[in-house]
């Protein structure tokens, strides 16, 4: 068995790293899988209303890219469904019978999505324009439904409900109570808004780069306008939902709250640490600004509420990665705040003139916002997954108890890491190839006039 460089990392670390890599990779495609269908529908719908061929060109281009991303995303999602059993079989033996319902319903949503993706991608010349547009609607709905069902299962891992353990066996399972646990609403909406936002900023970024390279035409302007309209509506909502999710964590995952907020010792009337840069092995943050009483107010609606410190939890029950989790959390919040500011700026400027701002600085900010929005999604998941450690099901089941007893995880981790490197390269190559093709159905003069 080939395990050379990885022989140094433990069985558990190899398994966790493999599923962590898989989730981070899949998340990128899942986010676009949720967001792109809506953007395609908007663009194609605008074409049906206005007859403007630029809209149709955008819809067709996005659907080509979506076809590639859907194929890779469906494949990387398949990897995860297998890995649940291959890497964490003892966790699945425990949890499968409790959270099977959302997974089965996700199966239905994925089915509908895959069927209509076939119709939509291959049906441009087989359906009337209106029927074709309609066939995109089930894709957009089922993509959101898939994300919803999967995230309810994750919410259950964070706030487990709907079962009892009697003599080490799972009993009294209530599948609906497990699915609609206290975290379902905030976690699912945070994910869906996050996906829409990242897609919107991602699209805007692609076309901002095009404009920076001198391609300032209606095709690029329309793409940025439609993407940043969506962003401007959703970014403030995401802030509100994020706040609600923070309260959910505060009430149900006290150790996680302490880690993400950097609360080491229990505080009464806890202040909110803003901008503190955590350093491992050092208590207290560098460059920290503490706003008195704000954490208690935000998390518990009470400025004098006590917030339990990380050091009050037994060593075995707290994460060893607290500084990194805090760093991920504040980076996510920082990016989110920046994205809200950017979309508001864009719309304030656009109200005065006819087109949005097209100066280099704004375009460069929009170009940076795309990757940043995807990074924020990845960081949010790091907070959710690392913040829950050492538990795979918070307070009930340890990650170390879920890992497989089968050997060879060093080899599988190596194989899958290489696979992801290859898939990333292939996907980038393929999307760039689509982007390089001339825009079909649009002559250059038409572009300039529009």
């Amino acid at each position: 068995m080939i395990t050379p460089p990885l022989a140094v990392i433990s069985h558990l670390t190899a398994g966790r790293s493999q599923i962590g890599t898989s989730l981070s990779f899949h998340l990128f495609f899942a986010v676009l899988g949720v967001g792109l269908p809506l953007m395609m529908l908007v663009a194609e719908g605008m074409y049906l209303r206005t007859g403007d061929p630029v809209w149709r060109a955008l819809a067709r281009r996005w659907s080509k890219v979506f076809g590639v991303l859907f194929a890779v995303g469906a494949a990387s999602g398949t990897i995860i469904s297998f890995e649940l059993g291959l890497l964490f079989p003892r966790f699945m033996a425990y949890a499968g019978g409790i959270i099977g319902l959302p997974f089965s319903l996700e199966g239905a949503a994925f089915f509908i999505e895959a069927i209509f993706v076939g119709i939509y991608l291959y049906g441009w010349n087989r359906l009337s324009p209106r029927a074709h547009w309609l066939s995109g609607i089930p894709i957009a709905i089922s993509a959101v439904a898939s994300a919803f069902f999967i995230v309810t299962a994750n919410a259950w891992m964070n706030v487990p409900r709907g079962f009892q353990i009697v003599h080490g066996r799972v009993t009294h399972v209530d599948p609906l109570a497990a699915m609609f646990n206290p975290a379902w609403a905030t976690e699912t909406s945070h994910m869906v808004f996050g996906a829409y936002l990242a897609t919107a900023f991602g699209i805007a970024a692609v076309y901002a780069v095009g404009m920076l390279r001198g391609r300032r035409d209606a095709y690029h302007r329309k793409a940025i306008a439609v993407a940043l309209s969506m962003a401007a509506i959703l970014a403030p909502l995401q802030l509100a939902v994020g706040d609600l999710l923070g309260r959910t964590v505060a009430h149900h995952q006290p150790a996680t709250l302490a880690a993400i907020e950097g609360v080491n010792h229990t505080e009464h009337g806890a202040g909110l640490n803003i901008g503190g840069f955590p350093l491992p092995g050092r208590s207290g943050d560098v460059l920290n600004v503490k706003v008195p009483h704000l954490l208690g107010l935000l998390a518990f609606d009470n400025p004098n509420a006590p917030v339990r410190g990380l050091n009050t939890f037994p060593k075995a029950d707290r994460t060893p990665l607290a500084p990194y989790i805090r760093l991920a959390f504040i980076s996510m919040v920082g990016i989110g705040t920046g994205l809200i500011a950017l979309s508001l700026w864009y719309w304030l400027r656009r109200r005065r003139g006819t087109d949005g701002p097209e100066d280099r600085l704004t375009l460069m900010a929009v170009a940076a916002a795309g990757p940043a929005a995807f990074l924020a999604n990845e960081l949010g998941w790091l907070v959710s997954e690392l913040g829950r450690q050492p538990w795979i099901v918070y307070g009930v089941f340890r990650t170390s108890s879920g890992i497989t007893t089968s050997p060879g995880l060093g080899a599988t981790f190596t194989a899958f890491t290489l696979l992801y490197v290859g898939l990333t390269a292939l996907t980038v190559w393929s999307v760039r190839r689509i982007a390089r093709k001339p825009v079909e159905g649009l002559s250059v003069p038409a572009l300039r006039v529009a």
């Binding site: 890779v72 494949a75 079989p89 019978g97 319902l101 069927i115």
Partner: protein, 334 residues
Amino acid sequence: MSLPALIAMLLGISLTSYALFAGADFGGGILDLLAGNRDKDRQAIAATIGPVWEANHVWLIFSITLLFSAFPAAFSALGTALLAPFTVALLAIVLRSVALGLRASPRGPGRSEVLLSRLFGAASLVAPFAFGVVAGGLAKVSTSARLGAAPVPQVPWTSPFALTIGALAAALCTQLASCFVALRLIGSDEPRLAEQFRRRGLQAGTCVLLLGLAAPTIAAAAAPGVWHRLIGAALPLLVAGVAASALSLLALSRRRYLLARGACLLTGAAVLWGWFASQAPHLIGSRLTIHTAAATHAALMSIAIAGGVVLLLVLPAMYLLFAVFARPELEVTE
């Protein structure tokens, strides 16, 4: 019928749909590998599986979720015992999907297209083989008290019997794909191209028949547990499978493609349900059955209802998909 049996039946239907329809898509990859530099063959294969392969793939996801929701202990044991072959199958499925999704056009102008085609073909050969090997190994371990009594039994997926089943799965996929492509070519008035796929179908079908006869023979010699079950509960299905396989060959030789496809689908279904019958009610080993590995009653009930909802939603949508692509293209007005 008990609730676990009902869900096992649903799982059986889901696995059968995956094996037959996604199996035909894998077979398309194998045919693509065999097509050499005949780009017309390659285009015919791509046109047949293009719109449907993603949807067919979802049967696998659905089967996995059914398995871990309803029989979590068995899912856990399967994942532990079969880490290696499942990892191989998984890598193959992923590479197949990505190669097929990224290949812009089956006609290869550049080297990249050729490379993606080869990857698509090779991965399409490995995936059904790996699944067949797993099925053969499970049939063997679940019918042997000596092998199957451990909580996580060793599954002999490299035994001659298992390897034969792996080869049978790959051959069956190839024959299925040949029938699907040939039938489509006849429908779009290209009988000359269809001849090529008829020949492939006859070759693959001959392999199916021979391997289908070899498997029980090997079982009789080397896996007595499987042999006894095969000539017991599974005997009618075994006979039906051999008969359907012979019929599909006869139909192909007479260019009756619709009949050939039907008989080929029937062969695949008979092989699968023969396997289920040979090891029912065992899921893996002799200790984990659909009853001992089952989740709680409430969980099973929710899965049964969700499973019913899935079928109610999916079957009409699936029909729509196949109906849209059975229609001719519209005139392009641009």
